[in-house]
Amino acid sequence: MAALPTGEVLKPADAEQLGEALRWAVAETRPLEVVGGGTKRQLGRPVQSAALLDLSALSKIENYEPEELVLSARAATPLAEIEAALAARDQMLAFEPADYGRLYATANDCANGSRATLGGALACNLSGPRRIKAGAARDHLLGFKAVSGRAETFKAGGRVVKNVTGYDLCKLLAGSYGTLAAMSEVTIKVLPAPERTRTVLLFGLDDAAAIGALGAAVASPHEVSGAAHLPVPAARRSAVAYVSGAGAAVTAVRVEGFGPSVLARCAALRAQLGHLGAIEELHSKHSLTLWQEVRDATLLGAGAEGAAPRPLWRLSVPPSEGPAVAARLQAETEAEALFDWAGGLVWLAVAPSADAAHEAVRASVAAAGGHATLIRAAPEVRATVPVFQPQPPALAALSARIKANFDPAGVLNPGRMYAGV
């Protein structure tokens, strides 16, 4: 784990003590950096905090009811523990939580396994390739208990999927990066795991043709649950030999579900896409590896050994715009790309620089519609370049008012998303 900042570390053992920690922070006006497993501390603007609020002791699966498809856990329960419990009942987190921890971690961290927590994945709304079919992390958060920056304990949502009782604060908390409230417990929707997974691979397509093919695949009735495109350099880094050894760009379409259905849909997709060139099918294990690589964005090289890692951008754009956005940027800067969500999610690794090519990225996204997040960059870059998409004034003012209503004293991750928020 990265070195902790100097300063106090508060480590509440339960929700009660979490409330006490916030009362202390408010009374002493001591801003807190909120941390679950600490794997994503380098995501966002550097937080100006006086102390660390370490939630890692809030870890326990409280109530898992497989037959109701719901699970409640203390917020910092490791994702690995949740996923193991679900797997034992043939269920899963359908949003396929991404683990960006590896993007920042040292080899040593990786050897110890990820410490990413459920609450952290939800608070950052990080969803994997299955987003296009099963929804985002935010779509699976059914309820929570939290302590606001007012040091008030409150709850929202419930334990059932269909619930419109009051405002949907679950959506607000998902993706708020710990700036509104510190969650102590979350309740999520879980789903049956697929009986079978297969991936149809196409080789040698250029970016535009690949996104066209992926668009056709997701517009088909074959219930595609992953649609990614790996240009040559990314494909070459895959641990799956079929992919790395192809010597060409690889376009991947995933199909999951009941056995006979998966076989039939793969055959249909091959028939639909076969005219585009060589085609191959990946079975379970290789398929899992490939989609994990896509999910965690580990196929874009960090750059030369010993040098500062290349800044990494995550662009969320209308899917059909993906290739054009990437092409525009690649014409202006030296950048390597990877596409997920049928083109709607573009990963870009750019050459190290003081501003991480921020202007070019913003201009390109503005033209297409959508937004960009600087997922990885040196702290001094993240302190000067906006990490999240700058918002139009009316929207920025509204976000600031929401922050002020949850955390008037600015004690929760101040400045992590936007300056002053």
Partner: protein, 495 residues
């Protein structure tokens, strides 16, 4: 129903206000005469009525913005309204409020197949979206039973559901973007055509906000390719318990059907009399289980569901052999409300959600309450996701019967909360369930929700009197209670 007291100062400026509004919208788009106002006096929860102060029918975002700005500046309340099919009184007018009806926002703006989405104005009917993309093989998944009439803007405001939400999600899971006008006239956009919105998820937050946070003026929805085949099973059971057990078996086996609906005996008989869907009249409960996907998958799952049904002692099992037969199974389910309307002069639709497994005991409790209150109840039930719709039949002309119905209804909802469920699954809180919010939420929970309102509408002029049992002023809610001097915090582990 207790509503905020009408502001006499606002009522006094009626003539002036009409003139000012007619500067913004066409003269005919401001309705001020009583006969015409009548058409807007209630939504589909018709037990509550109130003649609106005025009705305005804007035609574009600019008009909405200027109307809100004018009302905001003059301290005039505004009640947004879509098609008026809401079942919780969300669009119930106020005596001193302008009802802002979005009926003229009736155009689909863009169909974007490359990004598999539709950009539409909020007054477009839910079904019209699916119809517009049908020929290209797409549809919009959330399908409330009111889909011919209800507006997509109203669906967003209520986070509407439908029978296919079990597999495909609610409105909130199928939205990509919104344009919204705030009470001060400011126009904001959340999301777009991309998969996630940036910053705080205000798209998610405003979905289901019942017209309290802003007026929706544009909606971008995802559209999905139509499944290659669809089949429905009609299963009869001798008891609610047996039907409930079958639901548990299906879900437990990892099958998420496209739809999984249940009806009890009174609902079966009412709909059979009304539209003759051919339901088994000897059954105590029926399940309609719809499966969609590639033909091999549907065949595979139909066989498994049939086995589960037989294992749970189904008294009849039918598998739709044609599209016509499948639609007939649904016809009864989708006509449950009008069918109830034929049995009794009035009916009251409830909307609690419970954990699936508690269904038999909740139905027994409802039956016991029906006996106690001497009222007839028919149950239709989104069994797959635990969303219960008891229909209580009554006659408002019998003195005291409406009150008895409401009392019984609130007992049902309290029981839903008691077994771990919630007050409303898809119809919204509105005025109807407003005073029950305390059953689910404590003061701190509700205060935090109201602070969201304060961030959007600090003067609380937009749709007040809905959703929250007590209205606190934003200044009061904003105050911080700091526990200085108590700084020891002895229990807190530090390092």
């Amino acid at each position: 129903m207790r509503m905020p007291l009408p502001d006499q100062a606002v009522i006094a400026q009626r003539t002036e206000l009409v003139a000012a509004l007619r500067e913004i919208v066409a003269a005919d788009d401001v309705i001020a005469d009583e006969a015409a106002l009548r058409a807007y006096e209630c939504d589909a929860l018709s037990a509550y009525r109130q003649l609106p102060f005025l009705v305005v029918l804007p035609r574009d975002t600019g008009e909405v913005s200027r109307v809100l700005k004018l009302c905001g500046a003059r301290g005039v309340k505004v009640v947004p309204r879509g098609a008026g099919t809401g079942l919780s009184g969300g669009a119930l007018p106020l005596a001193d409020a302008v009802t802002l009806a979005l009926g003229k926002f009736n155009r689909i703006l863009e169909i974007d197949y490359a990004n598999r989405c539709v950009v539409t104005q909020p007054g477009v009917a839910n079904l019209a979206i699916s119809q517009a993309v049908d020929a290209a093989g797409f549809y919009y998944a959330p399908d409330p039973s009111s889909q011919i009439a209800c507006s997509i803007g109203g669906n967003v405001a209520e986070n509407a559901g439908g029978v296919h939400c079990l597999k495909y999600g609610l409105t909130t899971n199928n939205l990509l973007g919104l344009e919204m006008v705030l009470m001060d006239g400011e126009v904001v956009r959340f999301g777009g055509k991309q998969f996630d919105s940036e910053g705080y998820d205000l798209l998610g937050l405003t979905t289901g906000s019942e017209g309290l946070l802003g007026v929706i003026t544009e909606v971008t929805v995802r559209i999905l390719p139509k499944p290659s085949s669809v089949c429905a099973l009609l299963l009869g059971f001798a008891s609610n318990e047996a039907a409930g057990a079958c639901v548990a078996e299906i879900i437990g086996a990892g099958i998420i059907p496209a739809g999984l609906e249940m009806m009890d005996r009174p609902a079966i008989h009412a709909t059979e009399d009304y539209c003759h869907p051919g339901y088994p009249l000897d059954a105590e409960a029926i399940l309609i289980c719809e499966l969609d996907g590639p033909e091999v998958e549907v065949d595979h799952l139909v066989a498994r569901v049939r086995d589960f049904a037989e294992g749970c002692g189904a008294t009849s099992v039918r598998v739709s052999q044609s599209e016509e037969e499948r639609l007939r199974y649904w016809l009864g389910r989708k006509s449950a409300f009008p069918a109830a309307a034929r049995i009794a002069p009035d009916y009251y639709v409830m909307d609690g959600t419970i954990p699936r497994a508690r269904m038999p005991e909740v139905l027994n409790r409802i039956a016991a309450l029906a006996r106690e209150y001497d009222l007839l109840v028919a149950n239709v039930f989104h069994a797959g996701d635990g969303n219960l719709h008891p229909l209580i039949m009554y006659d408002a002309n019998n003195p005291g019967e409406l009150e008895r119905t409401e009392e019984m209804g609130s007992k049902i909802l309290k029981y839903c909360v008691e077994v771990g469920g919630v007050l409303t699954g898809e119809h919204g809180v509105g005025v109807e369930k407003r005073d029950l919010m305390g059953e689910m939420f404590n003061e701190d929970d509700l205060n935090q929700q109201q602070r969201v309102k304060c961030a959007f509408d600090p003067a609380q002029l937009l749709n007040p009197g809905k959703m929250f049992p007590t209205l606190h002023r934003c200044a009061e809610l904003g105050r911080m209670h700091v526990h200085r001097g108590q700084a020891a915090f002895p229990h807190l582990p530090r390092f």
